[in-house]
Structures are given as structure tokens and as C-alpha cells.
């Protein structure tokens, strides 16, 4: 398969969830209109916020929406509520699956595989669990996945907890799984930092999807 051009953006500062979401939408629309447009990858961190998929159950939000303390977004992805915050690395992939495999199950499994490879670089053993999309270390969840798709152009992606305040997950039922325990990468490898993980995320995605990256 020929390499495909993808635009990659990896800001060092903390980014507003809404701005990045809008940016993804722009790239998705562009690909829908003309499939010769490039794919788009974004790797970065957000301020504390909670996001829900279109089918999410609001009961999994353990605080009142009127409590204006946190930002809550309802977005185009599958899955239940999750949480983003500094110290968690978020990766969004706006890809045209028509160039890979028109199969969302394949795509979810591919993302799990990619995350497992990334953590492997840091000597962290982790695994997928059948029926519980995401990546796990024992019974603790280290990475979450949520995908939206329109005409086989994907949006959203995955988040890996690196060194973040896991208490923020206590205000929700993460992914709709009761008593779901979360984990940070730093607990399994003291010597890593988020910039290093970011570099490996970029490299792994580049290899796994045969991308030629253009930085923006």
C-alpha cells in the first residue's frame, strides 16, 4: 500500500477540548467532500472536562449537569462517559477507512494493538479484554477508546493515562463499567514522561498506518 499523507498536530500547551473537536470536524468534512484531502492526527492534552458519546447514559455522570464546575461535552463518538485532563495523552485520528479497511471492529482492534505496542516500548505489559474495548493492565484501565464515523471517515480516538489525577474519574462511571479501576503509566514505569510517550505515539501511528506526516 502506498503511503498516505497525513497532517499531524501536537501542541505542547494544554488545548481547549472544543477547539480541537471543531478542528477534527473540519478535517472530517474536508475528507467527506474530497477524499484526496489528507488525514489528520492530533496528539495533546486537555483541561479537565467530561465527554459523552451520542448514546451515553447520563446516569453514569455522578454529578449534576447544573453544577457548572466542569465542562461537559456531548460528541460524535460511541461509548459511555469519559474524562480528560492534563497528564492524560489524547490522540485523535481523522482517517479515511476506505483506504484501510471499511470495518469499525477492525479499526477498534487496530487501535488497541497500537496502544499495546506503545506501552510495550516502555516495558509495560497490558492487554485488551474481549467485550471491554480499551487497554487494561490486569483489571485496571490504562487507555480508553471512542470512535465516531461518517462515510467511513473517523473522528475522535483514544486517551492514555500517563500521569493524571485519577480521582477525576470518581465523578463518573468510566465507560459505564461499575467499579472500573483506572491506572496511570507512571505507576508502572517511573522513568517516562509525557513528551517521550507522545513521540512514541506519533512513531507508532506513522508505522502502523503507513503515513507520511506533515507537521502543522
Amino acid at each position: 500500500m502506498d503511503n498516505r499523507t497525513a497532517i499531524i498536530k501536537q501542541p505542547d500547551n494544554i488545548s481547549s477540548f472544543n477547539d480541537v473537536y471543531k478542528l477534527q470536524k473540519i478535517y472530517q468534512e474536508a475528507l467527506i467532500l474530497d477524499n484526496s484531502n489528507p488525514d489528520f492526527i492530533w496528539i495533546g492534552e486537555h483541561q479537565l472536562c467530561y465527554t459523552l458519546g451520542r448514546g451515553s447514559n447520563y446516569d453514569n455522570l455522578l454529578f449534576s449537569l447544573n453544577e457548572a464546575k466542569y465542562d461537559v461535552f456531548k460528541i460524535d463518538r460511541g461509548g459511555e462517559v469519559t474524562c480528560h485532563m492534563p497528564g492524560q495523552l489524547v490522540t485523535y485520528l481523522v482517517l479515511d477507512l476506505k483506504n484501510f479497511n471499511k470495518d469499525l471492529n477492525w479499526y477498534l482492534r487496530k487501535i488497541e494493538e497500537i496502544i499495546i505496542k506503545i506501552l510495550g516500548v516502555f516495558n509495560i505489559n497490558c492487554h485488551s479484554r474481549k467485550g471491554f474495548t480499551g487497554v487494561w493492565i490486569g483489571n485496571k484501565k490504562i487507555a480508553s477508546i471512542g470512535i465516531g464515523c461518517k462515510r467511513w471517515i473517523t473522528i475522535n480516538g483514544f486517551s492514555i493515562n500517563i500521569d493524571c489525577e485519577l480521582e477525576n474519574f470518581n465523578k463518573i462511571v468510566p465507560c459505564g463499567i461499575e467499579n472500573c479501576l483506572m491506572a496511570n503509566m507512571i505507576d508502572y514505569n517511573k522513568n517516562l514522561n509525557i513528551q517521550e510517550v507522545k513521540r512514541i505515539v506519533k512513531k507508532t501511528i506513522e508505522e502502523e498506518f503507513n503515513f507520511d506526516f506533515i507537521s502543522k
Binding site: G55, G78, L104, G146, C149
Partner: protein
């Protein structure tokens, strides 16, 4: 004219999807390419778009419900003035979506028909009682359906029934609907127009998965003239279809055929079938898929004799023999099953059976088979052999799958479901070893990897 919105397959392994949200309400204008609803499978969701400009006329599966891949979940019409009539037609379907969807799925399995019918009667009895506060213990289905449609004083008919009615000039108001809630089906129009409704009762059975004895299609066959087409002492002329079959069968006498048989353990296949059955998969589609996949590895068994030599067809097309109730048989063809997923294949098969019933098959839909299946499993037969149709090299006869005491290679004894298959082949092009190795691979596929039949 209305267009159906189907539950899409978001992946090759997906059997059903959840409707997350309808982005449009019935009556809303939709543009081609505009998202109409969102479907979710696992952690991924997908926008489902409209393929034409028009109006969303009906939502057949509400948000939050789960539907098998390929199920009709909504209807789009081209003109605004069609909305009302489509909504009327589908009103009966909407409140109890899940149960009517299930009825739809099993309704073409002849042996289960009596059960389905009585369920409908029960449901409608309740409805009649509810509406008219009048018990209807002795009503037959027709009366109840008539009562239901009188009470509601509107005509509910399937789109196909409406089309047929207008083609045949049948007045819908005078037709008794036999479908759920008195819905008028295509068969009702045929009946009203005086055409015999022929239900094929071979080749669409459940052979391996069902227990012999509980589903003897013959006994359940509704109100037919028994097993003969004429009265004692009478000689009845062959109909056109019977004549055609006679000619085909006679031509096989010029072909040097041999037979080779195999016993296949169907335990795994039965389990797999139980899982996918609820998604509309038929046993015929499973068997066709298994045979086509094996033929791909054995092109010799897909070949046929011609004056110029061994002829290898470009495609693998599986014909399946379907007996017609008024005599004769027809062999609807599932084209290129290897390129069609199991769910689509099951839908195609149901459609072919439906249309062979009303004798609406196009010639290329029954004459392009490169290999034929004949399944008598639903009658509980333990073995039979089939006659080779002209122009092809082989036909596979499939018998019933029965619990059988089996001696295993480690000298232990166990009970396994065993299905006998018997290949009849033209020895000019297919030799014993070809047939035997084909059957060995077919058995291996069915016994060990039935789940690979999905795609």
C-alpha cells in the same frame, strides 16, 4: 415510492447494531448524503446517511433499540404527499417493533409457520378484545384480521402488496390481510386474485439444527391436496414446470454419474446457527456458504462437461432445489456466495424463495447455477442421492442431522449430531478422488470452523 433504510454493517463480524439516535424526525426533509440516524456497535458509532433527497416517512425501530444487520429500520419517500400513506401503512409495525421484527425473521420457515400464525392470532384476539370489548374465542384468523381492520377502518398493506394490487386491479378494501394486525401481504393479493399461492417446502429447511421428528414439514403443510396432484383413478397432465424437470432429469441418463458420501458432525455448526439465527441467518445460506467456500478450493468439482472439453465457469453460483407445491421444482441461484456475507446471503435467499413462490424469478435467477444443493433434511431422511442437473458437473444431496452414537479414534463412545451428504458427479469431468477431497474439506469446514462462514 419509498426507499428503505437498512441497519448497516459497521464491521464484517457485526450481527446487530444499536440505534443511538434518530437525527431526523418522521416528516423531516432529508437531503442525499445527510445523516439520518446514528448506529453504534461497541465503542464506535456511525452516521447513517440518506441515499436520496426526500422525506423521512417512518421510523420503524426507535432510538435505543437493537436491530439485525440488514433489517429495515426506516423509510424515506421522494415526495411529501407520500409521507401520510407510508405512515399509515406502517403504523401497525411501530408500537411493537421487536416482536414484529421477529415474526418477520421466522415467517418464511414453513415448519414454524403454524406457531407463528397462532401467535399472531393470539395477539390479534387481544387487540380485538381491547378495541371492541368483545371476546372472539371462535374466530379464525381471517375473521379476526377482518375484524381488526374493520375496527381500525383503514387499509394496511405491504408496499409489495399495494404494487401487486394495482397491477392486478385488486381492490385492497376487499382483501383480508393475513399479516400482523391484519396487514395485507402480497400472498393475500394473489389469493384474492384467484392465483394459487405456492409455498416451496424443500430447500429452505433447518436440517442440521433441528431435531428430526419435531419439524416434519409434510405433516405441518397447511391445507394442500396431500402428496398427490390428482385424485385416485385420474391421470393429470404435466404442468410446464414438471415437463421441464422431466426433460432435465431424462438428460441425466446420458451422463455417467457416480456417487460419493460423507458423514459430517454438525455439533459446532448447530451451535453457530443458534447464535446467528436470530439475525436472520438461514441454514440454507450457511450450507451454501460452506459449499461455495469449499468449491473455491476445488474448482474441478465446479466444472462441467462440454463438447470442447472440461468447462470451468468464471463464477461459483450455487443453485438450491426448491419443490413447488403445485408440482415441479425450481432451482433459485445464489450467485457468488463467497463474495457475499452471510447476512446478505440469507436475505438474498429469503427474497429468492419469496419470489419463486409467486413465480417471479428472472431466468438468470434459476438457470445460472454451477453446482446444485438439494436438502431434504427437514423431512428427517437419513440419506438420499440426487440426479445431476444438465450443464453442471455435480449436485450435493443433504440429509437430516441426527444424534448418532459414534466410536471415536480413542475408542471412546459419544453421541454426536451426524449429517450425511452425498455427492453425485459427472465422471467425465470429476473423478472419485476430486469428489472425496471436496467432501473432506467441506466436512472439515463445517465440523471445525463454522464461524468462518460469516464473511
Amino acid at each position: 415510492m419509498s426507499h428503505e433504510i437498512f441497519m448497516p454493517a459497521l464491521s464484517s463480524t457485526m450481527t446487530e447494531g444499536k440505534i443511538v439516535e434518530w437525527l431526523k424526525n418522521p416528516g423531516d426533509k432529508v437531503e442525499r448524503g445527510e445523516s439520518v440516524l446514528v448506529v453504534e456497535s461497541d465503542k464506535a458509532d456511525m452516521d447513517v446517511e440518506s441515499f436520496q433527497d426526500g422525506y423521512l416517512a417512518a421510523v420503524l425501530m426507535p432510538a435505543g433499540s437493537t436491530a439485525p444487520v440488514g433489517e429495515t429500520i426506516g423509510l424515506i419517500v421522494e415526495n411529501e404527499d407520500e409521507i401520510a400513506s407510508v405512515q399509515e401503512q406502517n403504523k401497525g409495525n411501530q408500537p411493537d417493533v421487536s416482536s414484529s421484527a421477529q415474526l418477520e425473521l421466522v415467517s418464511d420457515k414453513t415448519e414454524e409457520k403454524p406457531v407463528v400464525q397462532s401467535e399472531i392470532v393470539e395477539k390479534q384476539e387481544k387487540e380485538v378484545v381491547l378495541i371492541s370489548e368483545k371476546a372472539a374465542p371462535s374466530f379464525n384468523t381471517d375473521q379476526i384480521n377482518a375484524a381488526t381492520s374493520n375496527v381500525s377502518s383503514r387499509i394496511i398493506a405491504s408496499p409489495r402488496a399495494k404494487k401487486l394490487a394495482s397491477q392486478m386491479g385488486v381492490d385492497l378494501a376487499k382483501v383480508h390481510g393475513s399479516g400482523p394486525h391484519g396487514r395485507i401481504q402480497a400472498d393475500d393479493i394473489l389469493k384474492a386474485n384467484g392465483q394459487p399461492v405456492s409455498i416451496p417446502w424443500i430447500g429452505q429447511g433447518d436440517s442440521p439444527a433441528s431435531i428430526p421428528g419435531t419439524n416434519l414439514g409434510v405433516e405441518n403443510k397447511p391445507e394442500t391436496s396431500g402428496n398427490s396432484f390428482g385424485d385416485p383413478g385420474e391421470t393429470v397432465q404435466f404442468n410446464t414446470l414438471q415437463k421441464a424437470v422431466n426433460k432435465n432429469m431424462e438428460s441425466s441418463l446420458d451422463v455417467p454419474c457416480f456417487r460419493v458420501g460423507y458423514s459430517i458432525n454438525t455439533d459446532k455448526l448447530d451451535n453457530f446457527y443458534k447464535k446467528v439465527k436470530q439475525n436472520g441467518v438461514t441454514m440454507t445460506a450457511l450450507l451454501v456458504k460452506a459449499v461455495a467456500k469449499t468449491l473455491k478450493k476445488h474448482p474441478q468439482v465446479n466444472s462441467s462437461f462440454s463438447e470442447n472439453g472440461i468447462s470451468y465457469p468464471e463464477n461459483i453460483n450455487i443453485a438450491v432445489a426448491v419443490a413447488m407445491e403445485d408440482g415441479g421444482l425450481i432451482t433459485p441461484v445464489l450467485k457468488e456466495p463467497c463474495n457475499t456475507d452471510l447476512f446478505e446471503l440469507s436475505r438474498e435467499w429469503k427474497d429468492l424463495v419469496k419470489r419463486s413462490r409467486s413465480k417471479q424469478l428472472e431466468p438468470d435467477e434459476y438457470s445460472t447455477g454451477t453446482f446444485t444443493l438439494s436438502n431434504l433434511g427437514m423431512f428427517g431422511v437419513d440419506r438420499f442421492d440426487a440426479i445431476l442437473p444438465p450443464g453442471t458437473g455435480a449436485i450435493l444431496a443433504i440429509a437430516s442431522s441426527k444424534p448418532t452414537v459414534v466410536a471415536n479414534s480413542d475408542d471412546s463412545i459419544s453421541v454426536k449430531k451426524i449429517m450425511q451428504v452425498n455427492l453425485t458427479a459427472d465422471h467425465r469431468v470429476i473423478y472419485g478422488a476430486d469428489g472425496a477431497s471436496f467432501l473432506k474439506d467441506l466436512a472439515n469446514l463445517i465440523e471445525n470452523e463454522p464461524e468462518t462462514l460469516v464473511s
